[in-house]
Symmetry: C2
Subunit: 491 residues, 2 copies
């Protein structure tokens, strides 16, 4: 699919993921040709073929799931007039430092008004919503965009994890009541688990973010964190309860069943497909290269003929037969290039192709083929007449196996701490700390600052799926704890 | 799928397409809720749900076809540094008047270099190509982007036809020889026919554009024109033979089989999905609203229960049964809203749903249903036990029937002219004129200016698929004709 560079020997990744996550990730991106960071604008990268194909598959899965849940797609302009932007005060304050501005066009020079490259689409969409929505019959109104956004990031960028242009879906919804909106937040969390945990095999925790760390303009923000190999968490999709914070300035109203005109209650949800991809390859990859869920791999089965002199056509003919047997159901590639079989093994392992079929003259004599699974290296000798069934079985279980391993690994990364010193040690060991905390309202912000300074992590928020908590006091101030929080380093 | 506005009676389009194409198109866009022109930046529109779904289907069909022909997808940044832009002189001259510039970001103010919102991606991509390509083994190198582009259009914008942001695919390819590049141009033309003529039912002619009307930086431009209902042609996808015009300034080189380093020969091809959509709905639509090919319709079959008082559940139950029978294979919707059956008929005709199934108490007694085809209004009474097979048959032929009608209509729109007066009359009658012409090299530019002034049309170029020509002299200067050209008004 991608061309092999003769000059680089094909020997997997040379940096250990465990010892140097950051170096490992950079080498993975380069060697597997996933992104090119040499594009000449800081923070903007090219996504190569192999990454683009998987990201597209992730988009389609997410779009299909959203549509099953009643969302419809829209296409919005990428530019937002500055005057729209100024309508919600917290929002503009939060996003102003991150906006790229279009100020000139063509030969006519300066535009009358600055146009923002959308950093997110609330202020573009909700003006339209105010024109479209009329009555309670139009609600719930659930729409989404598949698009890219631009943010002038101050933090260090890293391909897929964080860039100045990234690719996401944003869903924007209007309800008649706050309860309806909160139900949507829950549905968004379920969607996140379905895509990220079930399809991408990334284990997650959903948090209600602290007051000081929520989306600009939201009532509450709920965000998923994944623990990366480096002991740092990465924020994955977040869903925001906007309440009437936007519907009032943007005039998103409807006539209710009682004939009264009311402001809608809103939510928005933003799964970033490019970041999800980064999280997935970082979480699942190993020192041989990529590991990909079966459905998301650009090539699912690679066939490698083991060629001996004089037996070329004999082996290739069988290899093609097997390719033909499988290609209606799976994405199969036969690598008949001139590289050595060893180099081909390394190359396709690096690319994360889930199943490898090896076939040589001796295998043909024995009427079997060799199958190797990428994610655990398991090897099978399979009789040719049982091949299809065997592959069906492997294909069906491949992603589940990765997911189960991920979930077990993840649980072991969480450490409960009752005292600050224990928390410091856990953070230094690359763990997520679970502990008691005084408050995720603004009252607790001072303690969170101490967490950051002394423990070296961030208060990620209150876990959503745990109603009760087991901690009596705040790990910092020793006042009564109102919630259980998680502390972690973050990207 | 979309909400019905009670205030607007559902009575199809009130303007006749034949009498006032422009008014008809505007009303179609509004009433069928395809685009919203009220977005508050000039030339930027919102594509509504119904249009977005079909455009997405068009993207997927085009992507699939390109990938079958050996192209792979890439994702490029949307911004291009001004310094890249300046590398190819004709290109920058051609595009400079149309570029939106990002000049400021965040609170840090002015950027060191202006960044163009890509009007097309040659100058972004080819810098990468120069880093990626090494050897003849890398060729042919065929890649594509699915993305949007921005152009500060001077001409009047119209939803889907022409906007300041539009959605396209651009494919960019490198070959070892000029012949290889020319083969790609031919393949692109074939792809255009496969998508636009076979899938979208828009009849086309492919022209080599005159020298004065080619893509900025191209050796030659080949473009498809479609005749819209208004007697004007609309340029649809164009494919450009770039030769070495870009590979030299952008240093796109490879080591050939003889060990020599050589510049590649390039082509690029840009099917605009949003414009193709506009052309399709304009060409196929009628005074009842949209007509859509079967595969591209967001809903393929609408089931309308004819409800009489007291029989509600009896009819709805049967309607649901039929929905269940068909929904595995087709995109089916049961309209069980409170609207009258008549209003539902109008509404779904306006939306262009290919097949309507009507079912009332009397139909149920007779064990049949009524089926109506949108594109020709044909009506059938079909026994319930034959329904599935009958629908399969209609579905299979629906798009072919539209296409055949389109092709016949189109042929009748072309008129051969041997003299200027005949050409003027034909143009005034909304025809495309076919005639002799002195030259589409720069020698012929003066005659083309006279064509524009006196005949009121544009020389669209030399037809590609006609080797010979039948005209002895140029319709303007009476010098010997070197080619047959077509003249038409254009969008």
């Amino acid at each position: 699919m991608a061309k092999k560079k003769k000059e680089a020997p094909l020997t997997g990744i040379t940096v250990s993921k465990e010892e140097d996550f950051s170096g490992w990730y950079t080498e993975l991106i380069n060697k597997a040709e996933l992104a090119d960071i040499r594009y000449n604008i800081k923070g903007f990268v090219v996504y190569r073929e192999w990454a683009t194909i998987t990201i597209r598959k992730m988009y389609r899965k997410t779009e299909d799931l959203l549509e099953k849940k009643g969302h419809l797609p829209l296409t919005m302009p990428s530019l937002i007039p500055e005057s729209n932007f100024l309508l919600e005060a917290d929002h503009v304050e939060g996003f102003a430092p991150e906006v790229f501005w279009v100020t000139e066009a063509g030969s006519s020079g300066k535009l009358a008004e600055r146009l923002a490259l959308r950093p997110t689409s609330e202020t573009a969409l909700y003006k339209m919503y105010s024109m479209w929505l009329r009555s309670y019959k139009d609600l719930p109104f659930k729409r989404y965009l598949s698009c890219q956004v631009w943010r002038y990031e101050g933090k260090m960028t890293r391909p897929f994890f964080r860039g100045r242009e990234f690719h996401w879906i944003e869903s924007h919804n209007v309800f008649a009541t706050m309860e309806g909106a909160m139900e949507q937040v829950k549905e968004d969390m379920e969607t996140t688990y379905q895509i990220l945990q079930d399809e991408c095999c990334i284990p997650l925790i959903f948090f209600q973010r602290p007051e000081w760390d929520k989306f600009a303009g939201a009532v509450h923000t709920y965000a998923a964190d994944a623990l990366m190999g480096s002991g740092k968490v990465l924020q994955l999709p977040s869903t925001h309860l906007l309440g009437q914070n936007f519907s009032k300035p943007f005039n998103v109203k409807f006539v209710d069943t009682d004939g009264e005109e009311k402001y809608g209650y809103q939510t928005c949800y933003g799964p970033s497909q490019s970041r999800n991809y980064g999280a997935m390859i970082a979480y699942l990859g190993d020192d041989k290269g990529l590991v990909l869920p079966f459905d998301l791999a650009p090539v699912q089965i690679i066939i490698i003929p083991i060629i001996y002199k004089g037996k070329e056509e004999f082996v290739l003919k069988k290899a093609r037969e097997i390719e033909n047997q499988l290609k209606d159901k799976y994405i199969v590639k036969l690598d008949d290039s001139d590289e050595s079989a060893g180099n081909k093994f390394y190359y396709w392992e690096l690319k994360g192709v889930p199943l490898r079929i090896e076939i040589g003259p001796k295998d043909i004599e024995k009427s079997h083929v060799v199958i190797v699974k990428r994610h655990d290296g398991q090897k099978f000798f399979v009789q040719e007449n049982e091949l299809k069934e065997f592959i069906d079985n492997l294909a069906e279980n491949y992603t589940k196996e990765i997911k189960e391993k991920s979930l077990v690994d993840f649980e072991s990364q969480i450490e409960v701490a009752y005292e600050k010193d224990a928390a410091i040690e856990a953070i230094n060991n690359g763990k997520i700390v679970c502990c008691g905390f005084c408050s995720i309202d603004f009252d607790g912000e001072h303690c969170a600052e101490i967490v950051e300074k002394d423990i070296g992590g961030f208060v990620r928020g209150k876990r959503i799926d745990e109603e009760k908590h087991e901690f009596a006091t705040c790990i910092i101030c020793n006042k009564p704890a109102t919630c259980t929080v998680y502390i972690a380093k973050s990207y």
